[in-house]
C-alpha cells in the first residue's frame, strides 16, 4: 500500500482503518472457501437442475437449447400413458406408507425405552444393529433368508418356515409382485425403525421428570401419558420425521433394486429414482441423459413441494408452543 493512500491516523482514504481492513481480509479469507463451496456444490447444481428440464439437446449441433415445457409435458404424459413410467412413479410413493407404518411403532417402542424398562440398554443396541450394517449387506442377508428356488437348491430358512405354516411363498419371483412388495415392506419396517426409535426415545427422555410425575399424581395411566403428554411434547421431533418421510419418495430405490435387481415387467418394481439411476448407468452422463434425469427429478419435486408445504403447516399448527 502506498503512503499516499493512508493518512496520519492510519486511516485509508476510503475511510477504513488498517485494523478494519485486516479484519475484512481475514473475514473474506475465512468466508471464501465456504462461499465457493456453496456456489459450486449447491447453487450451480440446483440452478442447473431447475433449468435443464426446460431444455433439449440438439444431437446434430451438439449443444443444449431451450425447449420450454416440452420435456416436462412428455414425461408427465408418460406417467399416465405408459405403464412402466406409471409404475415407477407410483412405486416411489410406497416409501410413504412404509414410513407412516414405522412412525407409530417407533413412538410406542421409543416410549417403552424411555420408561427405562429392564434390559433397555441391550434392546437399544440390538435395535441399532440393523442401522449400522450396510443396507446392501442387510438386504442380501434378508433376501437369502427368504430365497426360494428349490431347483437350484436354494431355499432360505425364512422361506421354509413360511411354507411350513402354509404360506405359498414363491421367493423373489417377479410373477408374484404383491408377495414381493409385502416382503419389501416387512424388510423396510424391520430395518428402518431402529433409528427412529432411538430418536424418539431420546426426545421423550428430555421431557422433565417433574411434569410426568405431576401427571401421574393426577392419575394419568400408561397410554394417557403417551397420548396426552409425551407425544404433544415431542411433536417437533415427530414433524421432522414426517417431513423426512415424505422426502424419502425422492430417494426410494436401493431396497427394491437390491432385492429384485430388475425393474420387472412394465416396471412393477421400478421407482423414479431408480429410473433416473438407470438412465445414467445405460447412457453415461451425456447432456441428453442429464436433461432426462433432471426432468424426472423435477416432476417429483413438483408433486412433493405442495405436500411438504401443507404437511409443514399442519404439523406446525398441531405442535404446542412449549419449551423445556
Amino acid at each position: 500500500m502506498t503512503n499516499s493512500l493512508v493518512n496520519k491516523t492510519g486511516k485509508h482514504k476510503n475511510g477504513m482503518t488498517r485494523r478494519h481492513r485486516k479484519q475484512m481480509i481475514f473475514i473474506f479469507s475465512l468466508m471464501l472457501f465456504p462461499i465457493s463451496q456453496w456456489l459450486i456444490f449447491w447453487l450451480y447444481p440446483n440452478v442447473t437442475n431447475l433449468v435443464l428440464p426446460f431444455t433439449t439437446y440438439d444431437f446434430f449441433e451438439g449443444k443444449i437449447v431451450f425447449a420450454g415445457f416440452e420435456n416436462l409435458l412428455t414425461e408427465f404424459g408418460k406417467v399416465f400413458s405408459t405403464p412402466a413410467t406409471r409404475n415407477a412413479f407410483f412405486n416411489s410413493w410406497r416409501a410413504l406408507p412404509i414410513n407412516f407404518i414405522i412412525l407409530p411403532i417407533s413412538v410406542i417402542v421409543g416410549y417403552a425405552f424411555s420408561k427405562h424398562v429392564p434390559g433397555e440398554r441391550i434392546f437399544r443396541i440390538l435395535f441399532f444393529i440393523p442401522s449400522i450394517i450396510s443396507t446392501v449387506t442387510l438386504v442380501l442377508c434378508f433376501k437369502y433368508i427368504f430365497e426360494y428356488a428349490p431347483s437350484a437348491d436354494l431355499t432360505g430358512p425364512g422361506a421354509q418356515l413360511l411354507h411350513k405354516i402354509g404360506i405359498d411363498w414363491h421367493g423373489w419371483n417377479m410373477e408374484y409382485p404383491q408377495q414381493v412388495w409385502t416382503m419389501i415392506y416387512i424388510y423396510c419396517i424391520w430395518a428402518g425403525f431402529s433409528v427412529n426409535v432411538i430418536m424418539i426415545s431420546s426426545a421423550m427422555q428430555r421431557i422433565p421428570e417433574a411434569l410426568i410425575e405431576s401427571a401421574k399424581l393426577d392419575g394419568t395411566g400408561f397410554w394417557r401419558e403417551l397420548w396426552s403428554i409425551r407425544i404433544p411434547l415431542i411433536m417437533p421431533t415427530i414433524s421432522v420425521f414426517i417431513i423426512n418421510s415424505i422426502m424419502c419418495v425422492t430417494s426410494f430405490f436401493l431396497v427394491p433394486m437390491t432385492f429384485m435387481t430388475t425393474k420387472g415387467p412394465e416396471g412393477i418394481f421400478d421407482t423414479f429414482p431408480w429410473l433416473m439411476l438407470r438412465h445414467v448407468e445405460e447412457n453415461g452422463l451425456d447432456p441428453s441423459t442429464m436433461i432426462a434425469v433432471s426432468t424426472l427429478g423435477f416432476i417429483l419435486m413438483i408433486c412433493l413441494t405442495p405436500i411438504i408445504i401443507v404437511t409443514k403447516a399442519i404439523t406446525d399448527k398441531i405442535t404446542p408452543d412449549v419449551s423445556f
Binding site: T56, F60, T82, S151, D153, H170, E266, G284
Partner: protein, 537 residues
C-alpha cells in the same frame, strides 16, 4: 491450568485440522478406485469378468518385452470399469479401458474417446502375411464400432476395438442322451439309433426337439420319487434374454438372414437398419414396420409352443421355479448333481464351461470326476430350413482409448499389438476357448488342449451364420440408421420382463403388435426429433 488446557485443546484441534488437510490433499492426488499406478508407461483398466486375467497379463508381459515400456494392469469389478466419472473429469485416466458395456457410444458423443483409425490401419502379422487390422477383422462385425463424433458430420470413424466373440446357443447333457429312449414316430438314424431306439445325437430340428422333449418327459415319469428328476429344457427368468439365443436363430431362418423371405418386410439384417434408405445422416428415414416382421412372429410362436402350456398359461417343459432362477443358478442345475431336478438341454453361451469351473459346480461330490458330461449344440433348425445353422453372437466387449489419456500412442500400439495372430491365439488359449472376431481359426491353435465343449463351440462358430444386432448387409457405413447406432433398441423395445410375461399369456401376433404400438407411441417421437428422421408409413 484452565488456560493451559485451552491451549492444549487449540493445539490438538489445529493438529487434527492440519492432518485432515494433508489427507484430503493426498486423496485428491490419488487415483481413486483405479489405484496408484505412477511409474507405469501404460495403464490399462479392464473389467475382470469371464475372460480371467491370464490373457491380459500375458499380453502386457509380451508388450513390455517388445517395447521396454512398463504396463500397469488395473482390474475392475464394474462392466464399464467405472470409467465414466474419470472420462468426465479428464483426470486420473487409464490409457486403455477394456469394458463390457455399450456406454462407449455415449462417450464418443461427449468427445471423451480417441478415434482408432490409426489402429485399424496398422498392419499386423497373420497366418497369411501382413494385413491391416481393418482387413483382418471379421468384416461383418467391423461396422459396429464406427460412429460420427458429431452426428451428421458425415465422418465415420472407429472408436472401439472388439475383444470377444461369444456364440450363444444350447448345451445338452450327454449322459441322459445316451440312455434316453425314443417313443413315437420314427426319427432319422442320425439322432435315434434304429437298433437300440435310444437317442444318439441331440435334436437338429424343431420337430425333433419336440419329440426329444416328449421323450424326456416320458423318461422322467419313470424315475422313482427321491431320485434326480429331469426336465427337457432349462432357461432362467431372472436373465430372460437367454431366450434370444433361440429367437434370433429362428427369426433369421424364417425371415431370411440377409435377403427377405417376405416381400417388402426386409430381412433379419434389415431389421437393424430400422427402415433407413438414405446415406445422408442428417435425413435418415425410419420405418417401424420392421417390428412386425413375419419371421420374428414365427420365432416367438415357436418358442411359445415349446415353453408355454396354452391351456393353463403356465410354463411347461422346464424347471418349476424358472422365474426365480438366475443364469448362474441355471448353470448349477445343468452341470451339478447337487440339485434334485436337472434340465437336459439348456440355452447356453460359449463360456458355460469356464464359468462352471470358476464357480466350482462341475464336481459337487468331490470325486475328481465331472458330475455331468455336456456338449455345445446349435439351436435346432426350423423345419424346412435348409441353410447353415444360425447362431446368435455377441460382440459387446471392447477396448477404448480416452481422448485425454496420458499415453495415447502407446495405448494404440498396445491395441494393435494384441491383434497379431499369435496374440489372438494366446487370448483363445488363456481364456480356455474364447475367440476374438478376427479371421483366424481357433481350431488350428497348437497346444490349445481345448475341451470337447469348446471344440463344439469352435465348430459351430466357424460353420454357421452369425446373427447379431447390426445391419450386416448395409455396405455404406453412412447408411446405417442412427437409431441403431445411438439407441440400439432391441426387437422388444426395452422391457424384457414384460416380453416374458406376455409369452405366457399372448400369441406372437399380439406380442408384436403391442411392441409395435409401444415403439410408435413412446420412442419414435424422440428418435425423430433427435435424429431428424423422416417416418415412412
Amino acid at each position: 491450568m484452565k488456560k493451559f488446557a485451552k491451549k492444549m485443546m487449540s493445539l490438538a484441534l489445529t493438529t487434527v485440522a492440519c492432518f485432515t488437510m494433508i489427507f484430503a490433499t493426498a486423496c485428491g492426488g490419488n487415483n481413486g478406485p483405479t489405484g496408484d499406478n505412477s511409474g507405469y508407461d501404460l495403464r490399462i483398466t479392464y473389467f475382470d469378468g469371464g475372460y480371467g486375467q491370464g490373457w491380459i497379463t500375458e499380453g502386457a508381459k509380451s508388450f513390455e518385452a517388445l517395447t521396454g515400456k512398463k504396463v500397469g494392469l488395473i482390474p475392475s469389478s464394474e462392466y464399464d470399469c467405472g470409467a465414466d466419472i474419470y472420462l468426465q473429469s479428464g483426470k486420473n485416466l487409464s490409457d486403455i479401458y477394456i469394458i463390457e458395456s455399450s456406454m462407449w457410444k455415449g462417450w464418443v458423443k461427449s468427445g471423451y474417446l480417441e478415434p482408432l483409425d490409426s489402429v485399424y490401419d496398422t498392419e499386423v502379422d497373420t497366418a497369411s502375411g501382413k494385413q491391416k487390422i481393418s482387413n483382418f477383422m471379421d468384416q461383418q462385425v467391423k461396422g459396429k464400432y464406427y460412429l460420427e463424433r458429431k452426428i451428421g458430420n458425415g465422418m465415420m470413424q472407429p472408436w472401439a476395438l472388439p475383444l470377444g466373440a461369444t456364440p450363444n446357443a444350447m448345451a445338452y447333457n450327454c449322459d441322459v442322451l445316451e440312455v434316453l429312449p425314443h417313443n413315437g414316430v420314427a426319427l432319422s438314424g442320425e439322432v435315434v439309433s434304429s437298433q437300440t431306439g435310444l437317442w444318439v445325437a441331440p435334436p437338429r430340428t424343431v420337430s425333433e426337439l419336440k419329440a426329444f422333449i416328449d421323450d424326456v418327459n416320458a423318461y422322467n415319469a419313470t424315475i422313482p420319487e427321491g431320485e434326480t428328476k429331469y426336465v427337457p429344457l432349462g432357461w432362467c427368468g431372472k436373465n430372460a434374454n437367454i431366450l434370444f439365443y433361440a429367437i434370433y436363430s429362428w427369426w433369421a431362418q424364417a425371415q431370411g438372414y440377409q435377403t427377405s423371405n417376405y416381400e417388402g418386410e426386409g430381412s433379419f439384417a434389415d431389421f437393424w437398419n430400422f427402415g433407413n434408405t438414405s446415406s445422408d445422416t442428417r435425413s435418415h428415414t425410419l420405418d417401424t414396420r420392421v417390428f412386425l416382421q413375419s419371421g420374428l412372429q414365427f420365432a416367438i410362436d415357436t418358442l411359445i409352443d415349446i415353453l408355454v402350456n396354452e391351456d393353463t398359461d403356465q410354463w411347461k417343459n422346464t424347471l418349476e421355479d424358472v422365474m426365480s432362477i438366475s443364469s448362474q443358478d441355471l448353470q448349477k442345475t445343468f452341470v451339478s448333481n447337487s440339485v434334485k431336478v436337472k434340465p437336459v438341454l439348456v440355452f447356453a453361451a460359449s463360456y458355460l464351461e469356464s464359468e462352471t469351473i470358476k464357480y466350482n459346480y462341475l464336481d459337487s461330490d468331490g470325486d475328481g470326476q465331472r458330475d455331468v458330461n455336456f456338449k455345445f449344440m446349435p439351436v435346432p433348425k426350423l423345419d424346412g430350413y435348409e441353410g447353415k445353422d444360425v447362431v446368435y453372437c455377441s460382440y459387446e466387449d471392447v477396448m477404448v482409448v480416452p481422448q485425454k489419456a496420458t499415453n495415447k500412442e502407446l495405448a494404440k500400439q498396445f491395441l494393435a499389438f494384441m491383434c497379431n495372430q499369435d496374440k489372438l491365439e494366446m487370448f483363445t488359449k488363456e481364456t480356455k476357448g474364447c475367440m476374438r472376431p478376427f479371421n483366424y481359426d481357433a481350431r488350428n491353435i497348437q497346444g490349445g488342449n481345448f475341451s470337447e465343449y469348446t471344440q463344439g463351440v469352435f465348430d459351430l462358430y466357424y460353420n454357421s451364420l452369425h446373427a447379431f444386432e447390426y445391419p450386416i448387409n448395409c455396405t455404406d457405413l453412412l447408411s446405417v440408421s442412427n437409431v441403431y447406432r445411438y439407441e440400439r433398441p432391441t426387437f422388444i423395445g426395452n422391457d424384457i420382463d414384460a416380453f416374458v410375461k406376455a409369452l405366457k399369456t399372448e400369441n406372437g401376433q399380439k406380442i408384436m403388435t403391442d411392441i409395435y404400438n409401444s415403439i410408435n407411441s413412446h420412442d419414435v417421437s424422440t428418435w425423430v426429433k433427435n435424429y431428424r428422421l423422416t417416418v415412412v408409413e
